[in-house]
């Protein structure tokens, strides 16, 4: 890579690795490797993040994430986790209606033998 491009990418690095040619090249190459990995990790991290929020939102109304999502999939509601978490944060009433819906579905599942886990 051209050295000018490397120094442009090495701006703000710690110590001599922003001024020295050889050190900057090393750090920038390693940084680009991390960049590549974290582009993959981003998808997993966000999925985790959304699930944590949905779980907190549904626990307020007495359902765990596990039971809540089971009720939704059983009734073929296809809202993804990103939107569900946004609903849990910004529109609590519409989220509550979804929780009530999945509660209703759970009560009909397995001939009334399925009981959600107590929180």
């Amino acid at each position: 890579m051209n050295i000018d491009k490397i120094f442009k990418l090495a701006k703000g690095f710690y110590g001599r690795s922003k001024n020295c040619k050889s050190l900057a090249r090393e750090r920038v190459e390693k940084g680009l490797e991390y960049n590549y990995v974290s582009r993959k990790l981003k998808k997993r991290d966000f999925r985790q993040f959304w699930i944590q929020r949905i779980n907190a939102g549904s626990r307020i109304h007495g359902l765990t994430y596990n039971d809540f999502s089971r009720g939704l999939t059983a009734s073929d509601v296809q809202i993804n986790r990103k939107i569900l978490s946004e609903l849990a944060v910004s529109e609590p009433y519409s989220f509550k209606s979804l929780v009530d819906h999945s509660k209703n579905i759970l009560s009909h599942l397995h001939k009334n033998t399925y009981s959600p886990k107590e929180i």
Binding site: F49, A56, S85
Partner: protein, 225 residues
Amino acid sequence: MSRAIFKNPLTASHLWHVVDASGHRVGRLATKIADLLRGKHKPIFDKSAPLDCGDYVVVLNAHKIEFTGKKWDQKMYRKHSGYPGGLKETVAKDMLVKEPEHIIRHAVMGMIPKNDSKIYLGQRLKIYDGIFNPHQGQITNTPSSPLALNMGPYVEPELNPSQKQLDEYYAGYKLQIDNNSESFDILETKVRSHKDQLKRERRLLRKKRVGELKPLKSASIKKDN
């Protein structure tokens, strides 16, 4: 991640939870407190900003906490000064007299993720020996929220099992029971062994089913060779 939520004063303000520890079991209470400190009960939970969404917890009556089993005699609190022979051990029974706050704090701090924010989350946990709550003035200043958890002393759950549940629990095992603790113990051990036997039988059945498939494959391979 989504930081715009924290600009809202209702969601950004730290809540105060008051917990009366009397009669509660240590671990069961500590899981709840650890979740409150991190803010895991809020829909705005963000693990990258635990100091923004975490709450304050006040624990009262720390000396009335309870352990199950033989933990009062057997559980040890250890610390080492770093010098040879510098290990100090205190039994949980003595710790209750010496420093009852430490029992709860030790349990909670073990349940918080081990990173830089652990110290600051620990500072938000206030534990007191008596019933007096010195933070009452601070609590009244925060907006009231349904998310605030104010727990009283421990109440034992009522158990009214139906006949069907009892049959399920004893797995169809019947014995004449006198109202002694000894006869109950005998019944429980017998039921446990009976249940283990049932489990073993089920496992054998499962293995048999797998075994039925296996010889077919191995036989076909042998024929090819």
